[in-house]
């Protein structure tokens, strides 16, 4: 039985300047790379497959299997692209990871690139996190100086160039094919798949796109072995993962735990709900995952259990809302996000989210009409599954699940404003007096 929390990637976050190369090396840093460079690339892929690591960026696709899809007989260069465009509402794990421990990512990039036979890797990080970008730039520079990147790495003859690339503000670039278009210097709009990036990605060449936490998990897997990693977590969701609690808990924060920890355990670790309040609803993995209620407090937070409950584990971004919160208001604000972030390529998403916002504003103002719930669900049904990428599916997930769990609150939107039913000041952290127009 493993401990309730298992800090691995976060273990050094409270140390003195853990972002410095020497401090990272002192804790065994870059031993995974040294070992990897003595292995056959296919053996590294095998080890990652055996570990059971599934993508930490939301979709949960087995990382080793993704790597094995790279056609090695393709004459084009191969590329590794780290998706550090962390933007899914509620998700806030990769940013602190890269801020405090950038070298574990850089080491992971080197090992993963070697495994897929790539000589050029990119870390595509969202632009709105200046200090994280500083730390990444410095870590990459330090790694070059120490011979962990660049030409003839550690004397093995292996070459790898790494570029830290800042985005410019677009949620959609967290979608892997939009990210690739953006990295080619274009508007970030998704591509139709197939072909998948593994076959035709960056510059139409074989490309692996992986989340920060996935790549950062690789050094531990190589240094300590697949079985070490697999000794944590559940049968089908192995290893450690960072769980992010935000919202109405006493102490929001990051908790690195074996996959399968429950929300009840996490809320307890977070000091419980804020004083005198109780859980109303939460997202298990960001705003693109269906909201759940206290019925799911004891559900193991692993890929399959959350899917069985009708939602998705996503990025383990647990946004917690208490009974003061209006579901209608929250849903509106999420859909406003998707409307704003829709890239405009696919009509159902571009137009549909605009209409959902108009409808939800009426629900919020208590001015919706009988039948509007059905109309809204119909609009949602014409958005989800009808666009190139998953942004559209994520947008409607919160709408459909909110209506499913809290239909009566939407019905109240036929006559009563949400801010009367749930005075907004009560949900805010500072006094009701200051909490905005609808307090």
């Amino acid at each position: 039985m493993t401990d309730m929390l298992t800090p691995v990637l976060s273990a050094n976050w409270a140390d003195d300047r853990p972002w410095k190369l020497t401090n990272y090396e002192r804790l065994g840093g870059y031993q995974g790379l040294r070992k990897a460079l003595t292995m056959e690339p296919d053996a590294i892929i095998g080890e990652v497959k055996d570990s059971g690591l599934r993508g930490r960026g939301g979709a949960g696709f087995p990382t080793g299997m993704k790597w094995s899809f790279v056609p090695q007989d393709n004459p084009n260069p191969k590329y590794l692209v780290v998706n550090a465009d962390e933007s899914e509402p509620g998700t806030c794990k990769d940013i602190p990871l890269m801020m405090a421990n950038p070298h574990v990512l850089v080491e992971g990039v080197a090992i993963s690139s070697f495994a897929i036979r790539s000589n050029f890797a990119f870390i595509y990080v969202r632009g709105e996190v200046l200090h994280v970008i500083r730390r990444l730039q410095q870590a990459v520079r330090e790694a070059y100086s120490a011979g962990y990147l660049g030409k003839n790495i550690l004397g093995t003859g292996y070459d790898l160039e790494v570029v830290v690339h800042a985005g410019a503000g677009a949620y959609i670039c967290g979608e892997e094919t939009a990210l690739l278009d953006s990295l080619e210097g274009r508007r970030g709009q998704p591509r139709l798949r197939p072909p998948f990036p593994a076959v035709a990605g960056l510059y139409a060449s074989p490309t692996v796109v992986n989340n920060v936490e996935s790549i950062a998990s690789v050094p531990g897997i190589i240094a300590k072995g697949a079985s070490w990693f697999a000794s944590m977590g559940t049968e089908k969701s192995k290893g450690h993962g960072i769980f992010s609690l935000s919202g109405h808990v006493a102490n929001p924060g990051q908790f690195e735990a074996p996959m399968g920890i429950t929300l009840r355990q996490l809320i307890e670790l977070a000091g419980g709900m804020r004083d005198g309040h109780e859980l109303k609803f939460f997202t298990p993995g960001g705003s693109s995952t269906q909201i759940l209620t206290k019925d799911s407090l004891d559900m193991p937070l692993d890929f399959d259990s959350v899917a069985a409950a009708g939602s998705l584990l996503g990025t383990r971004a647990l946004q917690i809302f208490d009974e003061t919160t209006s579901v209608v208001r929250t849903t509106l604000r999420w859909v406003e996000f998707y409307k704003h972030e829709s890239c405009g390529k696919c009509t159902p998403c571009r137009e549909g989210n605009w209409w959902l916002v108009q409808m939800l504003r009426k629900f919020e103002a208590g001015q919706a009409q009988e039948g509007d719930i059905e109309k809204m669900l119909d609009v949602a049904d014409n958005i989800g599954g009808r666009s190139f990428c998953a942004l559209a599916d994520g947008a409607v997930a919160c709408v459909t699940s909110a209506v499913k769990e809290f239909r009566s609150e939407f019905e109240a939107g036929y006559h009563t404003p949400a801010w009367e039913l749930f005075p907004y000041g009560k949900s805010a952290l500072f006094g009701a007096k200051q909490a905005g127009g609808h307090a």
């Binding site: 996190v129 210097g185 605009w354």
Partner: protein, 246 residues
């Protein structure tokens, strides 16, 4: 529901301000744009960083900056403009010396972000998307900035200003207006938005070692694990003490 009025689905869209032809781009800037283009297997990949660099020089995406990017990359100004108008970090009017963002995506909005942006807007006397007359501040309603455990969140020059409140915002804005040094809660001493843009373009400013490794919410789980002796199986060697590290 009223009729289908014609209005932009993307209120932030619109073109680059061609009326303002001023620019500080010189030979040095062109050389740096070329340097950025040279860092990638295919030069056009450098366009986003190049536009960040243009902003660091001109305080916005200027017509001259667009021409310069197009020249360096051998693409049309229309292609560059198409990219510049897609991403929210590219400003088509001069941003302030300090660019203030208030997160009002759902969770931050609920936790107080809605009240906060109203407060900041009143205090600065500008609406979102505007810049103060003296050029000190610009204000933006931002989407989730990946700091939800520190909600409500404000950003200044893309540095974190965590756990914000109206009182803290007042202090922060007063200090910045007075030219006093202000540090990010998880970052460096604030410089300016233009200087930040230069770092984003890929020219480091030597401030990576400023600020903490992590703070507050980021450490909640780790602190509990340390108190209770919880660790991953066969965990890495115990962290060195601060004494040993010096």
């Amino acid at each position: 529901m009223s009729g289908h009025e014609f209005q932009s689905w993307f209120p932030d869209s619109g073109s680059v301000d061609m009326a303002d032809q001023s620019s500080n781009i010189d030979e040095q800037t062109i050389a740096e744009l070329r340097e950025l283009a040279g860092r990638y297997p295919q030069a056009r990949s450098a366009l986003l960083p190049m536009l960040h660099l243009v902003q660091s020089v001109d305080g916005r995406v200027s017509p001259r900056g667009i021409e310069a990017c197009a020249d360096v990359l051998g693409i049309t100004t229309a292609q560059v403009t198409g990219v510049a108008t897609f991403y929210t970090m590219y400003k088509r009017r001069p941003a302030g010396r300090h660019h203030v963002g208030v997160c009002t995506t759902a969770l931050c909005a609920v936790m107080g972000g809605d009240a906060l942006i109203e407060h900041v807007s009143d205090k600065l006397g500008i609406a979102e998307g505007e810049t103060t007359a003296d050029g000190t501040f610009s204000l933006e309603r931002i989407e989730c900035n990946a700091a939800c455990d520190f909600a409500p969140v404000m950003m200044v020059n893309w540095e974190f200003m965590d756990n914000m409140s109206p009182e803290k915002a007042d202090q922060l804005l007063d200090d910045l207006a007075a030219g006093k040094p202000v540090s990010s809660t998880r970052g460096a001493t604030l410089t300016s938005w233009k200087e930040a843009e230069r770092v984003l373009a890929g020219f480091p400013d030597g401030r990576a070692d400023e600020g903490p490794a992590a703070a507050g919410a980021s450490l909640v789980g780790l602190n509990i694990a340390r108190e209770r002796g919880w660790a991953a199986p066969d965990s890495a060697p115990a962290p060195a003490t601060q004494e040993e590290q010096k």
